[in-house]
């Protein structure tokens, strides 16, 4: 199963992080790599049944039952204007905590945990008109990988389209 | 061994206040919400002090004091009654019934502890 992921992979032991070092959970969307701060991540789940909600932006897939809690599911592909993918049992939901709300992000697959030094974060490049860069913290390079780090508060709570906080 | 007090008042807030004060002074506290309740809770208990209000439904404080004094376990236990300044007559009745002393409402926790110190070893 896709949820069978070792979060400790490639990450230094707990407590050894330098002051300016941050850990990001990385995942892929259409072969692009993204990262969310690991402190925000509550758990990772396999894709489950989602109940659609009417009159919502397309990127709100609906709500799912997370052990009795009704949790909204955000489709990041759709949010980033990527081509829609068929979600199946290999898709993954990253459950995050933002401003005391619990939400799920559907992604293609989860990769690993990346240790990033603040200094190593480059400012977000202009990704063109397609993508609003307000919710991008910056870019992190790790070897030949390039990871787009997301600011999920900005993404989920303060974005006009999502208007979750309203 | 810690001391145990029976605190009887139909007013929850007063009872809690007295109970809390006594607990802070190291007492274990059993609460009764009127005379009848207190009498039921006194059975088989080992108490070192009773603090009771006088004006209560079901069984008032004076009857409670009389009833308690008939119980061997309460024969020599100090019993304090809570009175108000207008209840001189009640105070007399309470003493006649076997009360050890009294507290006049309003009182604060410190005053309560001082009076308790007068009657409990």
């Amino acid at each position: 199963m896709t949820s069978d992921i070792d979060l400790d992979q490639e990450s230094p032991a707990q407590g050894q992080l330098a002051g300016d070092s941050h850990q990001f959970l990385t995942f892929t969307l259409q072969e692009q790599e993204f990262g969310v701060e690991i402190l925000r991540v509550q758990e990772i789940k396999g894709f489950t049944r989602v109940t659609p909600i009417p009159n919502m932006p397309v990127c709100i897939r609906g709500v799912m039952n997370l052990r009795g809690t009704v949790v909204p599911i955000v489709d990041l592909r759709s949010k980033f204007n990527m081509p829609e993918a068929e979600y199946n049992q290999f898709s993954v939901i990253i459950v995050v905590n933002v401003e005391q709300k619990v939400m799920g992000l559907v992604v293609d697959a989860v990769s690993d945990v990346l240790n990033v030094n603040r200094d190593a974060i480059e400012p977000a490049p202009d990704l063109g008109q397609n993508v609003d860069t307000a919710f991008i913290t910056g870019l992190a390079k790790s070897g030949d990988r390039l990871v787009t780090l997301l600011n999920i508060e900005e993404l989920l709570m303060h974005d006009q389209e999502m208007a979750v906080a309203s | 061994m810690s001391k145990t007090a029976l605190v009887v008042d139909d007013s929850t807030s007063m009872r809690q206040m007295v109970a809390f004060t006594l607990q802070s002074a190291g007492f274990e506290v059993v609460e009764g919400c009127d005379g009848k309740d207190a009498l039921a809770k006194s059975q088989g208990g080992n108490f070192n002090l009773v603090v009771t209000d006088l004006n209560m439904p079901n069984m008032d404080g004076i009857t409670l004091i009389k009833e308690l004094r008939t119980l061997p376990a309460f024969k020599f236990i100090p019993i304090l009654m809570l009175t108000t300044e207008s209840q001189d007559e009640k105070k007399q009745q309470g003493r006649a019934a076997g009360a050890t002393g009294w507290m006049t409402k309003p009182f604060n926790p410190e005053q309560l502890l001082q009076v308790v110190a007068k009657v409990v070893k």
Partner: protein, 726 residues
């Protein structure tokens, strides 16, 4: 040691509110029977309790006020004064004042303006009762012994003699404690025990005290302070305090006895004895207290029989939610088992399921409270309003013990007050008019509550003039609520009073006014997932019926399918479901699609469209669920009816936000989330100009009410001339 007692203030506010409720109830009862001692005692005890605790918690204003009230009550209790209508009125006002003072304490707000006015009225009443004796203010005498500051004085040597009574121990006294207390006052020079009174061993009663003591104490304390050490000793115990000179010769040798005040030092003061165990079991020696009745009027069950625990509301809600989860979890397991076991029933599972459902029922009952307190407030409303208007009203309640979810009870009060005011103001006629109509001069207003199925019904019935259809119709047309009176049944005309915009500020009277109409009542009731309707017979009176759910945590839902999704329509809104053929659906310009059902034109809403299940859905011979909201009917087209089920309501706002057209979500037995349709919301999303759709509502026949549950009769017999200026 400083002990913070402010934490008990909240408990005090809760219990003071209960006392005030009891007082109010008893006062209303007192109006009918002014000499009922038990009622007077209840009122007195409530005032007394509030006084005692409020002063303890530093709420001096409350203490001062209740003290004055208590003095007057004492006169009533003693039979010195009579509980006249004026006095009851004054005391009811006092209840309001205390409520105001408590609120002021709670919210740090200003006390009510009329405090001083009421205090002087109470004082006047007291003086009138006692023939001019004036009231002393509440004396703050607090345990003199403890508080008397010892005046600085020179060090003195006292000789103290202590002669305990034989029964000394039986008062819980202990000579050791007295000696210790004395020792703590200064320096003990000498203690001698005198054992001369000890009888021979054979005659000795081990429970008696035979020893006497003589103490020499060197202290700065005053003689008064030394006397205070003995404040608690029994009447028969004697002691004397004298100043010893350097040569230890006593100067005074006065014997004191433990009398309280000189006035009490009469013949009686020495006759008290501790009753020996053997005799005391005899009832005759036990004086029954005269002032405390065995039974009390309080509705709260005495704790001896049924102890109660106060629990934080949030924790209770949390518990109820978690048990709701447990129910869902259990049915998920049940379904899994059924699918694995291929139809084999698991006895263990059945047992577990039953336990869990019982548990849920029990947990919901924890939040249920009787409606009695709310009804009680209505008695006061009836009384005040009828007095003001000079009407005579007999107010009767049934089913006070009916229990409702606390959440519902908290929110039903205001609508009820409005309904009751309305009934007395607009329903019940003036006494002369009633007489002319051949009715008893006193109007009758009846408030009853009962449970029927999963609902609670609250009904308010008056025997007043009823609704005038003509006036109603012309007003409704004038206000633009309806276009014409056509096609309106009598019942529909009556229910126009609940239509939005029907009653306006123009008809505000001093009593029922305040700019809210019956439409607000309806909105409040519907916000509680309830409904309201009225039946009325002209000249004979009206009955308003409010239907409320037992609880807000659970909803009775109709499960419907739209494509692959399940939606829940609150069963409360569902009138019926019908199947129609495509040709029965008509399109009217400016209105949209409609169907005609038994002559009534009902707008059709394709739920698929409203909830975006599919845009080009053309299931023309679909199923229609006829629902009703705010008196408007609507036909919702769905794919299939799946059945009825109780569901636990989940808030979408918890993790997301409010969604138009959706009231919430729930988790079905198979674990998936189903959305609950907000009927009012979807009707707004799809609202066509339906101005003219009549308000229509089936009124449930509730005439067969078991009146055996009669609980309280409060008569408000009012003479308008007896009103006092206060």
């Amino acid at each position: 040691m400083q002990i913070d007692i402010s934490r008990f203030r909240d408990s005090f506010f809760v219990e003071a509110a209960e006392h005030l409720e009891n007082m109010e109830a008893a006062l209303l009862q007192l109006e009918g029977e002014p000499e009922n001692t038990e009622t007077l005692n209840t009122i007195f005890r409530a005032a007394h309790s509030i006084k005692g605790a409020s002063t303890t918690f530093g709420m001096d204003e409350v203490g001062k006020f209740t003290h004055v009230l208590e003095n007057l009550l004492d006169q009533l209790r003693e039979g010195v004064a009579k509980a006249s209508d004026q006095l009851v009125e004054l005391m009811l006002t006092s209840v309001d004042v205390i409520e105001g003072l408590l609120a002021a304490e709670k919210e740090n707000a200003d006390p009510p303006e009329n405090v001083d006015e009421v205090i002087s009225a109470l004082n006047e009443a007291f003086q009138a009762a006692t023939g001019g004796q004036s009231l002393d203010g509440p004396s703050g005498t607090i345990c003199k012994a403890v508080n008397d500051p010892a005046k600085p004085s020179n060090v003195t040597v006292y000789e103290i003699q202590l002669l305990p009574s034989r029964e000394f121990f039986c008062f819980g006294q202990d000579p050791y404690l007295l000696l210790r207390e004395l020792a703590e006052m200064g320096h003990l020079l000498d203690i001698q025990a005198d054992s001369s009174a000890l009888p021979p061993l054979a005659e000795m009663n081990p429970e008696h005290c035979y020893l006497h003591w003589t103490i020499k104490l060197q202290t700065e304390a005053t003689e008064a302070a030394i006397h205070d050490v003995f404040m608690f000793v029994d009447e028969a115990t004697q002691w004397k305090v004298s100043q010893a000179t350097a040569s230890d010769t006593p100067k005074t040798s006065e014997i004191d006895s433990a009398t309280e005040t000189p006035a009490d030092a009469d013949s009686e003061s020495h006759t008290y004895q501790t009753t020996p165990v053997a005799e005391s079991t005899d009832d005759s020696t036990r004086a029954k207290p005269t002032t405390s009745p065995k039974s009390s009027m309080r509705r709260t069950i005495s704790a001896g029989e049924n102890e109660t625990v106060r629990v934080d509301r949030r924790r209770l809600d949390e518990l109820i939610n978690q048990i709701g989860e447990l129910v869902i979890g259990t049915s998920m397991v049940e379904q899994d088992l059924a699918s694995f076991g291929a139809g084999r029933e698991s006895a263990a599972m059945g047992q577990l399921g039953k336990i869990v459902r019982d548990l849920q029922e029990m947990s919901l009952s924890l939040r249920m409270v009787p409606i009695a307190a709310t009804f009680q407030k209505m008695a006061r409303v009836v009384r005040d309003v009828s007095k003001k208007l000079g009407k005579e009203v007999q107010f009767i309640t049934f089913g006070d013990e009916t229990e409702l979810d606390k959440t519902v009870v908290d929110q039903i009060g205001d609508p009820l007050v409005h309904m009751v005011r309305n009934a007395v103001d607009h329903g019940v006629e003036m006494p002369e008019d009633r007489e002319r109509a051949g009715k008893p001069t006193a109007g009758r207003v009846e408030l009853r509550a009962f449970q029927q199925g999963g609902n609670i019904y609250i009904e308010l019935q008056d025997d007043g003039k009823g609704l005038n259809r003509k006036t109603l119709l012309s007003k409704a047309i004038e206000k633009g609520v309806i276009d014409s009176a056509e096609n309106l049944s009598d019942n529909e005309i009556c229910n126009l009073i609940f239509a939005p915009g029907f009653s306006t500020a123009a008809e505000v009277t001093d009593v029922s006014g305040r700019g809210v109409g019956m439409d607000v009542v309806r909105r409040n009731v519907e916000a509680l997932q309830g409904s309201v309707s009225i039946r009325s017979e002209e000249g004979k009176g009206s009955t308003i019926s409010v239907r409320l759910p037992l609880t807000l945590a659970i909803l009775d839902g109709l499960l419907v399918r739209l494509e692959h999704e399940v939606y829940i329509i609150p069963l409360l809104s569902v009138v019926e479901s019908i199947r129609v053929s495509p040709d029965q659906i008509k399109r009217i310009v400016g209105v949209g699609e409609v169907i005609t059902l038994r002559g009534e034109v009902i707008p059709l809403l394709r739920l698929h469209q409203a909830l975006q299940r599919s845009n080009g859905h053309d299931n023309e011979d679909g199923l229609l669920v006829i629902v009703e909201d705010q008196g408007r009917r609507m036909a919702l087209m769905v794919d299939e009816l799946l059945g009825q089920q109780q569901v636990v309501i989940k808030n979408l706002e918890t993790n997301f936000r409010k969604v138009p057209g959706i009231a919430g979500a729930t988790i079905l037995g198979d674990g998936r989330v189903a959305l609950i349709v907000d009927i009012y919301g979807v009707s707004l999303m799809h609202r066509q100009p339906t101005n003219g759709t009549p308000a229509s509502r089936e009124s449930t026949s509730l005439d067969a009410i078991n009146s055996s549950t009669q609980h309280a009769v409060v008569e408000s017999n009012t003479d308008p001339n007896s009103m006092t200026a206060s």
